[in-house]
């Protein structure tokens, strides 16, 4: 059902929802950017409509809500172990279409790729998704190429105009809360064209793996991992077992985001690291996003949000790399 309500009523609705839900949305952290007097837009808890950053793309994706950056799984002491408690409240997450498609990739990895991950599931099962529209493309977006520019599987769509809030609800709870609101036909804003487009080859021959194409990245990449930390579909984590420093008999196990781009990712027993070369790391990531994942799960992993290109301090472009690979494959096939 579609509705139109005013902003005050929307904020009242938020207040009501906050009783049972934590609302996460892209939010401007003033002064929270890398450099002096720069902001960061990333996910945080909000309680009013005004706190949501609708006009810009978030630097980091929504994934940290379902996959906390550093998450304690369980605590242990002597013979006893206790799992961490799940959050007391359910969650509502505001996100754009590309990110809602990314949710499918996270679900695939954590719920359908072998045994179900209980720590992901306990958050995922209690999270509702509210779509934010895109009136225009942002720099570096290539959602149209990836087919992620439109979404229908949202719990609600919310658009804020100068005076009103337009809502398209697929969620009973909201329909009930909005029973007295003015019905309105609401169609989510979505872009049909980006400044960037990519063409992904159907299959990538082995020769591309050995191409000198990757050498360029060996020289340019600084292995900071930003591209993977901002990526809504990167799902790697590592484990940290630790004993508390003032009581060596108690401790916890955490899982923490890991990155195939950062040193240590391929470290194995004996001190060997089998992918030290940064060009090889780039190749591994690119192949995972546009080829290997698809071989297992039938769709592309990358959803074209372009955050990796937005954030790279060395101006390495993932979308450009895809097109370079495509050109190489075309050349090979000729």
């Amino acid at each position: 059902m579609g509705y139109q309500i005013n902003k005050t009523k929307m904020n009242t609705l938020f207040t009501d929802l906050l009783e049972n839900y934590t609302i996460y949305a892209p939010k401007r952290f003033v002064g929270g950017g890398t450099f002096a007097d720069t902001d960061c837009i990333r996910y945080g808890e909000i309680s009013t409509l005004e706190e949501i950053e609708f006009s810009e793309k978030s630097d980091y994706s929504f994934k940290e809500v379902l996959l906390p950056i550093s998450e304690t799984l369980f605590y242990f002491t002597e013979a006893v172990m206790k799992e961490s408690d799940p959050p007391l409240k359910e969650a509502i997450v505001f996100l754009r279409s590309c990110d809602l498609h990314s949710l499918n990739r996270l679900d695939t990895i954590y719920l359908k790729n072998g045994p179900v991950d209980p720590y992901y599931k306990r958050l995922r099962d209690h999270t509702h998704f509210i779509l934010m529209g895109c009136e225009n493309t942002f720099e570096n977006c290539f959602c149209v190429s990836m087919g992620t520019n439109q979404s229908t599987n949202y719990d609600a769509y919310i658009k804020v105009t100068a005076e009103e809030v337009l809502i398209d609800s697929h969620w009973n709870l909201l329909d009930q809360a909005l029973a007295n609101a003015q019905p309105f036909t609401v169609v989510p804003d979505s872009v049909s064209i980006n400044n960037i487009s990519v063409e992904i080859p159907e299959s990538i021959p082995q020769s591309v793996f050995d191409s000198t194409l990757w050498d360029d990245y060996t020289a340019r990449c600084i292995a900071c991992g930003r591209c993977t930390f901002v990526c809504p579909t990167c799902t790697c984590f590592t484990m940290q077992d630790l004993f508390y420093s003032d009581n060596g008999k108690a401790g916890e196990r955490r899982r923490v985001w890991a990155s195939c781009q950062v040193d240590g990712y391929t470290d194995v027993a004996g001190g060997h690291a089998f992918r030290e070369n940064k060009g090889q790391r780039m190749r591994f990531k690119v192949m995972h996003k546009i080829s290997d994942y698809k071989k297992r799960f039938d769709n592309q992993m990358c959803t074209g949000c372009g955050r990796c290109d937005d954030i790279c301090p060395e101006y390495i472009s993932f979308s450009n790399c895809i097109n370079k690979v495509n050109a190489l494959v075309k050349e090979e096939n000729r």
Binding site: T34, A36, Y60, I69, C224, G225, F229, S245, S259, D263
Partner: protein, 322 residues
């Protein structure tokens, strides 16, 4: 026949040059930043009244040589729009610069452009210029965005070095150790790892912000408050050149402005009245009357931020040639 008051000319920011009959005009650019539309105005002065050349001064001003003393009034007229646009304090409009003793307040490029800068050096420099100019007393003040000190504040009477107090959100840390490596290789090695999280040695940290710049997850962010290291009484010169030493660490804007302004009163009280041209560097006055007396004057009415560390009494080094 020329009949000149050289002392007045110098105070008007003209130089008595080695060439008889010729002066040079010094244009002050507080914070070292100007809009490009001022350049044709400077060009016009150089081409109409100078010898067509412009010297870039070490204090980020322009010096136009080859001006006839007779043309100073005409040059002052052309300087007026530059003075106006840069909002330089002036006693008599149309008569050029009111003083030259307090030098152009200079600044590195700062956070307008530089990723390392911890604050907007230009803005602070302009604010300081507004507070202390015009004044005949010889004061050199410079602002730099970070501990790299590109403007060389340590060769100034007052050097202001930007600092940020790193804020750590351990829940956003992935233990990639980019901060640890950056701190070790580019700064002071103040970070270590304990149970996969980062521990900052606050006593060692110089507030350079490298951890913040290198953090890929925003686990490290900047403090809301801007902090500064105030270094004092550096100098070049014949007798005892020396680098400025730390006086305040983790101080704030208000305290710095107050201390600099208080120092004018101190200098007025103790300057050697027989000093040639009425010019004696502050540092030599402090050497003469003692640091404690300087500090008494400098700190009058100054309120410190709770984080401020006072490093006095300050002792300086450098070679003594006298």
């Amino acid at each position: 026949m020329l009949d000149l008051n050289t002392k007045k000319i110098k105070k008007n920011a003209y130089r008595i040059t080695k060439v008889r009959g010729e002066t040079a005009s010094r244009i002050r650019i507080p914070g070292g930043l100007l809009t490009a539309d001022l350049l044709p105005k400077i060009q016009e002065i150089a081409e109409t009244y100078g010898n067509g050349r412009i010297h870039l001064t070490t204090r980020q001003g322009f010096e136009i040589p080859g001006i006839r003393y007779e043309d100073m009034d005409a040059v002052n007229t052309l300087l007026q729009p530059i003075i106006d646009q840069l909002e330089i304090n002036q006693v008599i409009p149309g008569k050029g610069y009111t003083a030259s003793g307090t030098r152009n307040v200079s600044a590195c490029i700062g956070s307008n452009t530089c990723p390392f800068a911890n604050y907007n050096t230009t803005d602070f420099a302009k604010k300081m210029e507004k507070e202390i100019f015009p004044n005949d007393l010889h004061f050199k003040v410079a602002f730099t965005g970070c501990a790299n000190d590109c403007i060389k504040t340590r060769m100034h009477d007052f050097g202001i070095i930007g600092m940020t107090e790193p804020q750590y959100d351990k829940d956003r840390c992935v233990n990639c150790q980019a901060c640890v490596k950056a701190c070790k290789q580019k700064s002071v090695d103040a970070l270590s790892v304990e149970n996969y999280k980062i521990v900052r040695d606050a006593a060692k940290c110089v507030g350079c912000g490298e951890c913040v710049i290198n953090c890929p997850t925003r686990a490290w962010t900047r403090s809301t408050k801007k902090y500064y290291r105030l270094v004092i009484m550096g100098r070049t010169g014949k007798r005892n050149p020396r680098l400025a030493e730390d006086y305040l660490v983790w101080t704030d804007e208000a305290a710095i402005i107050k201390i600099v302004k208080n120092t004018y009163k101190f200098v007025k009280e103790y300057i050697d009245t027989t000093a040639p041209g009425g010019k004696e560097h502050i540092g030599y006055i402090i050497d003469r009357v003692g640091f404690k007396e300087f500090e008494k004057w400098a700190l009058d009415g100054v309120e410190f931020d709770e984080k401020t560390i006072v490093k006095g009494p300050v002792y300086w080094s450098g070679p003594h040639y006298d």
